[in-house]
Amino acid sequence: MEELVNLFHGFAVALQPFNIMVMILGIVLGVIIGVLPGLGGANGVAILLPLTFSMPPTSAIIMLSCIYWGALFGGAITSILFNIPGEPWSVATTFDGYPMAQKGKAGEALTAAFTSSFVGALFAVVMITLVAPLVASFALRFGPAEKFAVYFLAFCSFVGLSKEPPFKTIAAMMIGFALAAVGLDSITGQLRLTFGSTELLNGFDFLIAVIGLFGIGEILLTMEEGLAFRGGKAKIDLRVVLQTWKEMPKYWVTSLRSCLIGCWMGVTPAGATPASFMSYGIAKRVSKNGKNFGKGEIEGVVAPETAAHAAGTAALLPMLSLGVPGSPTAAVLLGGLLIWGLQPGPMLFVEQKEFVWGLIASMYLGNLVGLIVVLTCVPIFAAILRVPFSIIAPLILVLCAIGAYSVHSSTFDVVLMLVFGVVGYLLKKCNYPLAPLVLAIVLGDKAEEAFRQSLLGSQGSLGVFFSNSLVGTIMVLGLIALFWSAIQEGYSRLRPHSVA
């Protein structure tokens, strides 16, 4: 009960006129940051952090966390409209969101994405409100072995989903792993695969690869087919929101499952990216529409968006209660807390009640405000697709170039982006799936790092991955997911052969 009293007190703090103003400002800035490729949540928050210096800490964190919500919402927009995910966790949203937009259903896809984001975030905030201390202690049980198991599960639940030939899927995923390995090896502190080039020191950033492979590649495909984005007929009417809402309750099972996956991934803290991929993969497996996934199924937008937002929100809990960030953006927020003289950690909930509960209340309100803001803009976003291709295409190309440049302030990255674009075009035409490649770039080095940290700890014994019930369970789940897909695939490949 004490929590509820605190929460109401928090609402009183968050509802002060100045804080509401700050909240709306933050959401709008966040959406802009999320839409512009290259800025992204973490960068955006970092850039605006010093500007909040002159505010009281509670207002400052409300503003920054609202930028964070805004960026989470905004990330879905470019994924759906242009197939360009601005953040790693938006990649899975493109799988069905972009085909929907191509079919003229951009409005539905955006509404579904925003609404499920809201549902995911709300679920996670409720969890933070009610069971914060319990969940925090669960997060402490995650060492390197447990983290590796989570990445393993994310890969396993995603592998074998594509319709493409299995060896092309393997090749694509391995290319992703190889690209992720370039640069500094974090375990030995040694450079690898850089061949003495200083440009390759940074390795291959996910964003550059994805802007090229997905965004530029898509523009090239469109050029080949004549100059038109196929989403021209998108309805631009607010009624689309209500129609989509009517349809969404059907997917409550997927939503609930995605919320749980998201909260789990956010707290552990593996983050929103594995959450969105895992949620998409599992939804595709168990949904009765599963085989239509990838062709513009609304459930394929609901699953990753819900999970990504639940994870993004839940990631703030370990940040506040343990001082360990669950996402890059949370890491920057953490820096902010320290700058304002607040020490995140076990004592924050005791010593800074007003701040913590003000923040939690602002999570409720910020997400609500965010949902209203972005939903009212759905028609405007959908209308972007009506701009003729020969105007929008150069603008997208320029924005992509800016996005690629601003990741590391390097013009070499812009060149890389174009190379990735051509590669993406060729791979797509040759039936190589791009999603496993991107998944491997995003999670490859993290998985390798966790694996090697575990082996360091266990002095080389692989038994560490089954050394306790937690890590063992996750690993077994991963293996089941892996072999399930293998069996399914073998089965479905056998059948046509026997018919022939």
Binding site: G143, L201, G345, M347, E449
Partner: protein, 334 residues
């Protein structure tokens, strides 16, 4: 927040005075100043850079904006090479951490601190030996005994990065105690502290700011500080103890000293006037109450050096790092 109004007013007066002095300096930035951080967002160097950016903005210490840019590739090599290649661009400064020495040595990146112009040492970051509060050892002696009793490599030491400051201290510890640790590198200091709370490692050498929250929460226990003398901050943090009460490692029989540079460098061909401008700027930053609060929250050693003193300090440290890393076998293969 009320007391800070007075502080701000005092700081404003101080700045006003300083501003008059600076007015006579010949050079001033004419475009935005890029403040390079050779590490990722959210880390110690990043926090400090963004604090400085905030202070500069809040008190209008510069006519042009200050822009923080993270260039963390290749253990910070990316950032250093950027400044090295910036010729005489005076609108680029960089904050350093120990990777100023360790990165070129461990990776073979063609870079040396002499490729940049030293501006000022802002502070030194302390290192403290931490253990989980559930563990029975309350003194360095208990801890060292436990390490000695464990089989070689049985004790796990968590730290930030590989072949960087945390691992250098670990190697020094091995030498001092005649034992062997298993060193496990993580990406960030906060993560290392939490791994210690979760008992996934047995000890860490976190900076104060990375572990203070867990100490306050009663999860971690500091054993000793790797400095020549005890820290000066006497505010109580936990269990009636403050930073001041942590003994030096040397007094406990571990003769190891290590401090991490938080200093500023700029482009290689910077003129005297330009360096002078930034020195004055950072003097003003140091005078603000926000900076002092920041120093206190991270229990920093607030030594400030400029000019030849600073360059000499850096040179000594470089030699020391080279010796330490050579001994540990951390040098890059030629």
């Amino acid at each position: 927040m009320k007391h800070s109004v007075l502080h701000t007013a005092l700081a404003a007066i101080a700045i006003f005075g300083a501003g008059n002095m600076a007015a006579s300096a010949a050079w001033e930035p004419v475009r935005p100043v890029e403040f390079i951080v050779p590490a990722g967002t959210g880390g110690g160097a990043d926090q400090m850079a963004r604090t400085i950016q905030g202070i500069v903005t809040k008190h209008s210490l510069m006519k042009q904006p200050m822009v923080v840019i993270n260039k963390s590739g290749g253990a910070g090599g990316e950032g250093f090479l950027d400044v090295k290649g910036s010729g005489n661009n005076p609108h680029k400064i960089i904050i350093t951490l120990s990777n100023l020495f360790t990165t070129p040595l461990a990776t073979g990146i063609p870079f040396n601190w002499k490729d940049m112009t030293p501006v000022a040492m802002l502070a030194l970051d302390e290192f403290v030996l931490w253990v989980n509060a559930e563990k029975p050892y309350t003194t360095v002696k208990d801890y060292v005994d436990a390490v000695k009793q464990a089989p070689a490599g049985g004790m796990k030491m968590g730290g930030t990065g590989s072949k960087q400051e945390d691992q250098i201290i670990t190697v020094a510890l091995e030498k001092a105690t005649g034992t062997k640790f298993t060193y496990i590198p993580y990406k960030g200091g906060g993560e290392v502290a939490v791994q210690l709370v979760g008992n996934h490692v047995d000890s860490t050498v976190n900076n104060p700011i990375e572990a203070v929250a867990q100490w306050r929460g009663g999860k971690l226990r500091p054993l000793c500080v790797f400095d020549a003398k005890q820290m000066t901050y006497d505010e109580v943090v936990a269990d009636g103890k403050g930073w001041k009460d942590i003994p030096t490692c040397k007094s406990q029989g571990l003769d190891i000293e290590y401090l991490m540079l938080r200093g500023i460098f700029m482009s290689p061909k910077a003129t005297k006037d330009q360096v002078e401008y930034y020195v004055e700027l950072f003097k003003k930053v140091r005078a603000t109450p926000e900076w002092q609060d920041f120093m206190k929250s991270g229990a920093f050693n607030t030594t400030f050096l400029t000019g030849a003193d600073y360059a000499k300090w850096v040179e000594t440290e470089e030699k020391r790092h080279e010796a330490l890393m050579k001994e540990a076998g951390f040098l890059a293969a030629p």
